[in-house]
């Protein structure tokens, strides 16, 4: 009872007690608390009573040298612990200041046992109180634990759960090493993360997940894996174009190790540029955006690449009939620095080049990822990461399917580089500072012999489109307590956009030589966020604000974007969450709808073009059954303001094509509901997701000012993906995806063409008009835009992964599967009338033509690992 008594009462009674004034000469100035307590008892014979549950006896303490009594020594050694000595009934009691529990902070990095690679998103919690946190993007965690806590649980879906005894408070940083689970076991997603920092509109895919399910040509694709989840989709079958809740492709912020990317597709978006082998962790935010993110309206896709193994050298090579992928990682200095290098390349041009080049042309893609990870000390670490992706395409003029006037060459590349410095300022404060460089560069050339004027000319034209960003950012996390976490930071980005610069060897004559438009802009960001847990952790509030400003000659745009997330936790792992976020997008992509072309033009907000804004509301409910099942349902509504579009096709290889004149702005309304059921553990795992959604657009000058379905509007989206582990080393997987047909504008009527009706024949000069080969004698009468739906897209894919065993240090794995098992003809392009139309005089039937992409397509790949 005395231990529970308020110390203030007892202190008044015992202050002058002789027991505390009894002379005592400590044998040394340094020692643990336990050492001094035992020594006082031994020297003076006074009994000291205390509870080891709140007093950390092994804590090292130092005396000042001026202590000469029991009371003075006890005061010094208990300083800062919240414990006071009180003499009562012939004993000295060590009592708490008050009856409240005392907390102290533990912090450190969570790493993989063998490679020392940091683990993102691991749960860290006190098993008694269930209070916890998760490791951040750099593997850092900070947690306040009560003094009654004796051990901490560290868990992550890809690693064996670890129960770690709590060290003494002054033992410094607590770095944890977790043992990976057998990589051939089922990898689960968001399995045991019951930390409140996970949100309903947040999807995180860890390493290994990407290869869980069958994929087109066996290529592991991060963005396509995300498309299994509700609220996500793609514009076309098997496209890596990611669409989030009715938003456009340009409304996603793609961050590769914190560096923004502007073009994420290889081969017109059929594959994403993110090499699945190089990726460590993927996070997708669909709503409740943390305040640190800004700049896009619909989502944030945060991709972290692997850091490299700090212990041993390892490598991997995967070969398939269409591509080869290799990786190498290892320590440069053991436990101090590591590197990771991966390279991926398509093989179509090498293996089948001769026959294909003649008929269709040549295409090759490659990706290289490199990361250097240097540990300076246990508080400071530096990362240097680099990525280059390249596409090269050549189309000869005399190709078989579609003869052209010119030979065409395209070459587009992404380069990103990031230098990061992470620092543990104190157990409660973690900060990272990042300098980044991002460049997208697209060159295009054409070559032909043709007659423009009376003499034949050898024509050479070259176009360049470029984006260059240099940025410096800082993010700081301050774990004030277990119930409050502050995040704040800011950054500066220098944008340099040169959307189009075209030149040719043709004498311009009277044509005005217009300089290529260039834009130099400064973007400033600042943010602050406070995460609070109230009512015994049942209520979580996360108010925040993101401020962005775009400064350039002639215009200045500022935007303060409030963010709010509120969540109420119910018993039995249930919660309801509501969120609001305003997002502002300063840059715009003027794109050919649907397909992902490297010529899609990124342009800034200008005097005439305002930033785009989104106001996003969501409400969700989640229930989890231990770590096995997760059920989630979401409702969302998103209002888009000042979104831009063009109602014509931009010709980027003409410096005189003034894009600002072609841009119109309007509003958008996206709403819907999402459902997710996920089984995370056991031999059979899988995901079922369903989305019911609407996406509308409204532009004053389109569709008579009335709302119309957005091009990417899909009413129903359904995914079912299953994986069954037959036995260790052998798994089977299957996925089925369904998506409602996309909207298409089908004319209500056709009527005689104006020129044709007046007997005016002839067509435009094709060379300077990209689409003039349509010479049709009718005009379409369109009553409503996007009034017709194409056929739904669905396909069943199956796959298997077989671990073939190992020889010495080499491990062999075979992956195979079949895409589109039942050979569904999915609409890829649909055209009313034909692409290449007839002459004016020809009479022919008018109908819809559906072009499909892939029918049944098998894949196989072999992986060698050491």
């Amino acid at each position: 009872m005395l231990l529970l008594a308020p110390v203030r009462v007892l202190r008044a009674q015992s202050k002058q007690d002789p027991m505390l004034q009894q002379a005592y000469n400590p044998p040394s100035r340094e020692g643990t608390i336990l050492f001094f307590i035992q020594d006082i008892q031994r020297q003076t014979g006074i009994s000291i009573s205390y509870s080891s549950s709140f007093l950390h006896l092994n804590k090292k303490v130092q005396l000042t040298g001026s202590e000469h009594s029991t009371g003075q020594v006890l005061n010094t050694i208990l300083q800062g612990t919240g414990i006071q000595a009180a003499a009562v009934n012939g004993k000295i009691f060590l009592l708490r200041e008050s009856s409240q529990t005392q907390y102290y902070t533990i912090s450190g990095f969570i790493k993989e046992e063998n490679s020392k690679e940091v683990i993102i998103g691991a749960s860290v919690y006190d098993p008694v109180t269930r209070r916890g946190t998760i490791s951040n993007s750099y593997g850092f965690y900070s947690l306040q634990v009560p003094d009654s806590c004796t051990s901490i649980i560290f868990s992550h879906i890809g690693y064996e759960t670890l129960l770690h005894p709590l060290p003494p408070p002054d033992d410094g940083q607590l770095d944890i090493h977790m043992q990976p689970r057998n990589p051939l076991q089922t990898v689960v997603v968001n399995g045991d993360q019951d930390s409140v920092t996970l949100q309903a509109g947040y999807i995180r895919m860890p390493v290994g997940y990407v290869s869980n399910f069958p994929s087109l040509l066996g290529e592991k694709d991060v963005l396509k894996s995300l498309q299994l989840y509700p609220g996500t989709g793609s514009s076309l079958e098997s496209s890596s174009n990611l669409l989030i809740r009715g938003g456009g492709v340009d409304q996603n912020l793609y961050l590769l190790d914190g560096v923004p990317l502007y073009h994420t597709g290889h081969l017109f978006g059929l594959f994403s540029i993110f090499n699945g082998d190089a990726v460590k962790d993927v996070s997708l935010y669909k709503d409740a955006f943390p305040a640190r993110f800004g700049g896009r309206l619909s989502s944030v896709v945060d991709i972290r690449t692997r850091d490299g193994n700090m212990k041993e050298w390892h490598g991997k090579a995967t070969v398939s009939p269409v591509s080869v992928s290799t990786e190498l990682e290892g320590p440069l200095v053991k436990d101090k620095s590591a590197m990771f290098l991966s390279y991926r390349r398509s093989l179509m041009d090498w293996l089948y080049g001769r026959s294909l080049t003649r008929q269709y042309g040549k295409y090759a893609l490659s990706d290289i990822n490199f990361k250097l990870n240097q540990l300076i000390n246990n508080k400071n670490r530096v990362y240097l990461s680099f990525y280059k992706g390249q596409d090269n395409m050549f189309i000869p003029r005399d190709n078989t399917p579609f003869p052209l006037d010119d030979d065409y060459r395209f070459s587009w590349s992404n380069i990103t580089a990031a230098l990061k410095w992470t620092r543990v300022i104190s157990p409660k404060v973690f900060t990272n500072t990042t300098a980044t460089y991002s460049r997208f560069y697209n060159t295009f050339s054409q070559n032909s012999d043709f007659k423009l004027a009376s003499a034949a000319v050898n024509f050479n034209g070259k176009g360049v489109s470029r984006i260059r960003d240099i940025a410096l950012h800082n993010e700081t996390e301050f774990n004030v307590s277990n119930t409050q976490k502050l995040s704040f930071g800011g950054g500066y980005t220098y944008h340099n956009f040169a959307p189009t610069a075209y030149s040719s060897n043709i004498n311009p004559g009277d044509a005005i030589q217009r300089p290529a438009p260039k834009y130099y802009m400064s973007e400033l960001t600042m943010y602050g966020e406070d995460e609070l847990r109230l009512f015994d952790d049942r209520l979580t509030l996360r108010p925040g604000a993101h401020f962005g400003a775009l400064i350039q000659r002639g215009s200045l745009y500022r935007s303060l974007q409030p963010r709010m997330m509120a969540r109420w936790d119910f018993p039995h792992e249930q919660y309801i969450q509501a969120s609001f976020a305003q997002m502002t997008q300063f840059i715009h992509q003027l794109t050919t709808p649907v397909i992902n072309l490297p010529t899609d033009l990124w342009v800034p907000s200008t005097e005439n073009i305002k930033p785009e804004r989104a106001y996003s509301y969501s409400l969700s409910y989640q229930k989890q059954w231990e770590t096995k099942w997760r059920f989630n349902i979401n409702l969302y509504y998103k209002l888009l303001k000042d979104i831009v579009t063009t109602n014509t096709v931009l010709n980027i290889f003409d410096n005189s094509d003034l894009w600002e004149k072609k841009v119109i702005s309007g509003d958008g309304y996206n709403y819907g509901s999402e459902l997710l059921l996920e089984k995370n553990t056991g031999r059979l795992t899988g995901i079922f997701s369903y989305t019911l959604a609407w996406a509308w657009r409204e532009f004053r000058t389109l569709n008579s000012g009335r709302m119309f379905p957005y091009k990417e509007d899909r009413r129903h989206n359904l995914s079912l993906a299953l994986k069954y582990r037959v036995k260790p080393g052998w798994s089977l997987s299957a996925s089925w995806k369904f998506s409602s047909g996309s909207p298409f504008t089908l004319p209500a009527q056709i009527f005689p063409d104006y020129d044709w009706g007046r007997n005016i024949n002839g067509k435009l000069d094709e060379r300077y008009s990209p689409f003039s080969n349509n010479q049709i004698n009718y005009l379409p009468f369109i009553t409503r835009l996007n009034n017709f739906r194409l056929n739904p897209v669905h396909h069943l894919d199956i796959g298997t992964t077989i671990y073939l065993g190992s020889t010495r240090t080499l491990h062999h794995t075979l992956t195979a599967g079949v895409y589109n098992v039942y050979s569904r003809s999915n609409p890829f392009i649909v055209s009313y009338d034909q692409f290449v139309t007839m002459s004016y005089d020809e009479i022919y039937p008018l109908q819809l033509y559906q072009y499909s992409l892939f029918r049944t397509l098998p894949y196989i790949s072999y992986t060698l690992k050491f």
């Binding site: 009527f751 349509n774 649909v830 009479i843 033509y849 992409l853």
Partner: protein, 342 residues
């Protein structure tokens, strides 16, 4: 230049080989509409072209039957009938052609009313713009981005009372048929009709010949260009592209601009594409806003009809109430250029 879009087509066609399917077009309950094209030009007689649309549905083709039984009326501002236009039989015309005798006046408002059996009546109102004042300062053969072009330097006076004027510039080649009329025994014959007789009697005394040029109801559109950033073609494409017509919205100030037409077709037989023989018409027009809006959207549609799922469709503007097409008022200055030996 087809740029990436064409490359994409190549890729698609290559990848999609064997994966093309006809899709059924859903049946429609829509009814055909009357289509009226009428450019009412100040100082000229009223003309209309009348046709019928086809509801999009299964089993249709791109053939349009001429509508020869329409009732096409021109009415004054007070809705009084001015004239019923008569059908002009011409088998060479793609749409039925109706003409009246009323000369259109500038600054005057007209209504048109067209009745086509089994369709809704079409009505439209248009006010003919004031006479346009154009000064051709010079013309010059030059080159533009490697092309032979003919450049016109136009100065168009500001519209009255600081109003707006919608300017359209275009170039056409009107095809001509060359013939000879011979008189034999006081009877006139055309050589093309009586070639055998002509060959038989041409050397006889008293036979006289007169060369004749017949301008046909057939035109060739000549691509036109501008380098003027004020041109509304900027809303359609780049300034190095070519267009059906060059369009300006003139606000209060004189318009001083260079207009280029492709010179390939100026002279018949001059190039391997063998342009037909005829005369070149360069029209500078001031048109009504509705007509201008139609032409601007028409320019977009000509460039890209948007009939496939990759590209957003374009909606053509129209002022034909109850039907389709356009009824536009216009005052124009036409330049006739004769490069061919007629």
């Amino acid at each position: 230049m087809k740029y990436l879009f064409q490359i994409w087509c190549v890729f698609s066609v290559a990848a999609l080989t064997g994966c093309i399917r006809d899709l059924p077009v859903p049946p429609t309950s829509g009814k055909a509409r009357a289509v009226v094209y009428s450019e009412l030009v100040a100082g000229r007689k009223a003309e209309m072209r009348v046709g019928k649309s086809k509801p999009v549905g299964p089993d249709i083709n791109n053939y349009f039957e001429p509508v020869t039984n329409a009732t096409a009326q021109l009415l004054g501002a007070d809705s009084q009938l001015l004239e019923q236009l008569h059908y002009v039989k011409d088998t060479s015309t793609n749409m039925a052609f109706y003409r009246g005798n009323t000369r259109i006046d500038a600054n005057k408002t007209y209504y048109i009313q067209v009745k086509v059996p089994d369709t809704k009546d079409v009505t439209a109102r248009t006010t003919i713009p004031p006479l346009i004042k154009v000064e051709l300062q010079d013309s010059l053969r030059t080159t533009l981005n490697g092309r032979d072009v003919l450049r016109f330097h136009f100065n168009i006076q500001a519209p009255p009372a600081n109003g707006k004027q919608f300017i359209v510039m275009e170039a056409l080649k009107q095809l001509a048929q060359l013939d000879t009329i011979f008189t034999y025994r006081n009877v006139r014959y055309r050589v093309r009709d009586r070639r055998a007789l002509f060959n038989q009697v041409k050397n006889e005394p008293g036979v006289t010949f007169v060369k004749d040029t017949l301008y046909l109801n057939s035109y060739l559109r000549i691509p036109v260009y501008t380098q003027d950033e004020n041109a509304d073609n900027n809303q359609v494409g780049g300034l190095n592209e070519n267009y059906n017509s060059i369009l300006f919205t003139q606000r209060g100030k004189p318009l001083n601009t260079q207009f280029y037409i492709n010179a390939t077709a100026l002279t018949a037989g001059s190039t391997e594409v063998e342009p037909p023989i005829g005369r070149v018409l360069v029209n500078v027009k001031s048109v009504t806003q509705e007509y201008y809006d139609f032409l601007l959207t028409y320019e977009k549609v000509r460039r890209n009809p948007g009939l496939n799922s990759l590209i957003q469709a374009i909606q053509i503007r129209s002022n034909a109430i109850g039907g389709l097409g356009v009824i536009g008022g216009c005052s124009q200055v036409a330049y006739y250029l004769y490069y061919d030996n007629l």
